[in-house]
Symmetry: C3
Subunit: 383 residues, 3 copies
């Protein structure tokens, strides 16, 4: 595959063959995936499907049976039972190898801060796929990992050191303040005294046997602002995710003041997923030079309807500010569907622009290349 | 009509002939409907159309002239004057009989708590249509009906008794807390002391000549939590409705904590209408095993554009959690348009999925049947 | 061009030739437009596009290269460089004359309160285009213009006098309370004492060298309520605009109580732009007899995707309550794209309604005429 394409291939073929940079995803699950594992990884829900129902009748499950089944030598629209049986016969390694190869991804930027012990590391992902990998550091996970060895007074500089070390090789960071609090946070950085006091409360709680899970808003804001200081792109979870989230508090327009406050720092804000606030994210990406966006996981989880999401992401955002990502975690089906559904959508939308005289084909190919890889390369300074 | 269809009919024919369970609607108006009555029942507005305008140029009115006119022996797109004249000639009974028969509804779940004296009862609806009917109890109306005979201390148990009696035959309840307050309510149940105090204030107000209309938030929350205790499905008004509502306070994501709090109780939460928060509702239906949704009244009131609403309801929600409803009240045109517009949308959307290889036709028929009747049967334990 | 059309022209031709009333726009820029001027006027962003990117790859820039280039004798999809070079060759006057003529606008309602010294006045616009012009008075600009000559006690009556004078010829007013505060303001009018106190603070600040820019919420509410008193249509900025705005605070459903409070005053509320809250605006336009809406600037800034916005504006609003506007400011390309994209969308959407049997062609032509000019004529009492 080549980003330039050839003179004779159609635009749809060009998009189908475009090597993708997946700027936000996680590793494939290690070990054997049971049917119950599959059902839970195939939804953003935290609980099994109700009795008598199956995730294979969710939009993502429908897409799996349509798009992944043939790659496992099954007929399209096979039953859930047939799919899971064949998956077991082939084994996780083979299924992952086939589906990730078919995704046409040339580089994965891997968020390593979520259930890291259950998924492949960046080197393992590189070995499995033959693609390049880079790491994205999850701020909250990094803070939680150093907490046991910190004092309240020492937390801030210990975190600073840990982040500096992590960013020697990582190409960006990820914040899940949307999950832990919401995007409606005070956009100003907390003071040193506030941070020390908050760290004291958090660490005392841990010492008393409490959860390491960081939910203190002062500390969440502190991590974000420390990351601003390092200047590498900051991925922010926005909108749709699991049931921890209160959706309306994850409307990205809550980030407006934070965007003003960071506009001249040199940092880039990468809004992830954005469903159902895709238009709000696109508007921010037009207004602020350092705001970018994707539709990532929402594409897989809307399966047959995913084109409409990608379409909205191209409504008002500059072509230079929208990115591809799968946000896949664990299941190889999420990488494949993320990529194939995205390709289908981009081919149709930009193809329409060409057919209706809005864009010339040269521009359309240039835009597809920006969306699929060029923007990620520019945002993260890759290659 | 049969839910199974026959081997030779097309998918569009299958959907056109599918018997529907209308899981949320009201009775047809009794007595004679004047032109002024028609104009007010044909909109969610509480006031007549401005001078020089007509509801027949609203999207619903356009749909009426397109879809209902031929059933009254008129040409499509007839004038408002011709439509109303012919309606008067035929009489309300005949118009209702024709339009409800043409809706292809096999069962109506009737909310009996809104202007009950002006519309048909469930037995009258059964007699008019030949279809089966079941009752849905409106919580606030039930509380208002018992208020005159209650003391503050006795309100809670009197309501409990009344609800128990009502649920001997009713298949679910309806809450309009969205209208009376908003969905941004404290999700915890109020204490007994709070309820007694609130009941005291409300009943004292009534005794002093105040409105019976229940708007006290403590009592609204209490009714909802008492309904949770009975375990039958709870219908919740969400989004679009008349001008009593402040729309952004009816975003269903305000229900997130309430959904967490009720997840293990066995109750089912049925989100009604959901426009323009259809995506938010679909996300909740994916995340929470006990959350369901429909697009009901918004389908009729968007007429020619209604397909896009049904399309959004199928973006991320499981096929097992989306239902059909008309939310029709009073006008038989609302039942007919609700059903015909919904059938048109489902036939086109699922038909596209088949044409584009996302779903096999067997699955598409199964999904149409779930959406049109199967999910309602499962949710309410019908038949 | 004629609003009636001829018997033989197609519906698409009818819409293409419909003379438009642009009920909300500004003047064309005077003087010479440099490339840097163009880049800033072609986006809602307040800052230049990031290095290596160009507004010509924004949806609006793409539309300019598709729709405006041929009118400047360039091939469709020409490069940014070619476009700007040719623009310079022709000169601003010639470019404006060509593009505004091609927009097919018969009347412009011009908001004269934003950077008035840099754009053409209504008479200059009339001279340039040969079309009629009317003025819309921006409330905040009017207040700021009289501030230097006011005392705190005299502000209210001075503003009243100034507004009365302005409305001798202006056909409506414009409020940008959305920019200066948000739409989530207290819907009640402030008291006289509150106004005098607030005016005192504001004027003292100006005297001390502060900004004249009016951001005091009491005064913003006062201006709005004074305008209500005069009874001419009030244009309200809603949703999408530049980076001054916090988007979620510009959801028009925040205006619900204000709409109730003004319903019987005789004033008309014109919701402008409304993106991404088009559905919310349409619902309000259905519910309240005096609420109207448009999609104006969002149409130009979504270029190839603009049809979907116009489509949403026709979902639930009455055909009598949706208007055309370009919201163009400065660049003639904004008038042309606003008009041509809107015509394309309306021709397709209403054309589909006809093709699918939802509307007869007579109604479709009537609706297009209402949307494009008739509703503006009725709302503002033009001609």
């Amino acid at each position: 595959m080549s980003a330039e394409g050839t003179a004779t291939e159609s635009f749809a073929e060009f998009v189908a063959g475009l090597p993708l940079v997946d700027h936000h995803c996680h590793g494939v699950r290690t070990g054997t995936t049971t049917d119950a594992d599959f059902e839970l990884l195939a939804t953003e829900s935290d609980w099994p499907a109700p009795p008598g129902t199956s995730v294979f009748d969710n939009p993502f499950g429908i897409a799996v049976r349509a798009l992944c089944a043939p790659l496992l030598d099954l007929p399209r629209h096979c039953t859930a039972e047939d799919y899971l049986r064949r998956r077991g016969e082939l084994g996780d390694q083979e299924v992952s190898a086939r589906l990730l190869a078919a995704s046409g991804t040339e580089k994965y930027l891997l968020d390593t801060g979520f259930r890291a012990s259950t998924i492949m590391t960046p080197p393992e992902m590189a070995q499995l796929t033959g693609a390049a990998t880079q790491e994205i550091v999850r701020l909250e996970a990094l803070a939680e990992s150093i907490a046991p060895d910190c004092t309240a007074a020492g937390f801030s500089s210990a975190f600073e050191d840990a982040l500096e070390r992590a960013l020697e090789h990582a190409v960006g960071v990820k914040s899940i303040i949307a999950y832990r609090y919401g995007l409606d946070f005070d956009p100003a950085p907390p003071t040193n005294a506030e941070v020390t006091a908050a760290a004291g409360r958090w660490l005392a709680g841990i010492e008393a046997g409490g959860l390491v899970r960081l939910t203190d808003l002062v500390l969440l804001r502190h991590l974000l602002w420390r990351a601003v200081g390092f200047g590498k792109p900051i991925q922010l979870h926005v909108g749709f995710g699991d049931a921890d989230i209160v959706l309306h508090r994850c409307d990205p327009s809550h980030l407006t003041e934070f965007a003003h406050a960071t506009r001249e720092t040199g940092v880039q804000l990468m809004l992830l997923h954005c469903y159902p606030y895709i238009r709000e994210a696109g508007i921010l990406a037009q207004l602020f030079p350092h705001v970018w966006m994707d539709t990532s996981c929402a594409v897989s989880h809307t399966g047959p309807s995913s084109e409409t999401l990608v379409r909205q992401s191209l409504e008002s955002a500059p072509m230079h500010k929208v990115l591809y990502a799968s946000d896949a975690f664990g299941l190889p089906e999420l990488y494949l569907c993320g990529a194939q559904l995205w390709r289908r959508a981009v081919a149709r939308i930009l193809g329409e622009w060409v057919a209706e005289g809005f864009a010339g084909e040269t521009d359309a190919r240039r835009y597809a290349e920006l969306l699929g890889r060029g923007n990620a390369i520019r945002a993260y300074g890759l290659e």
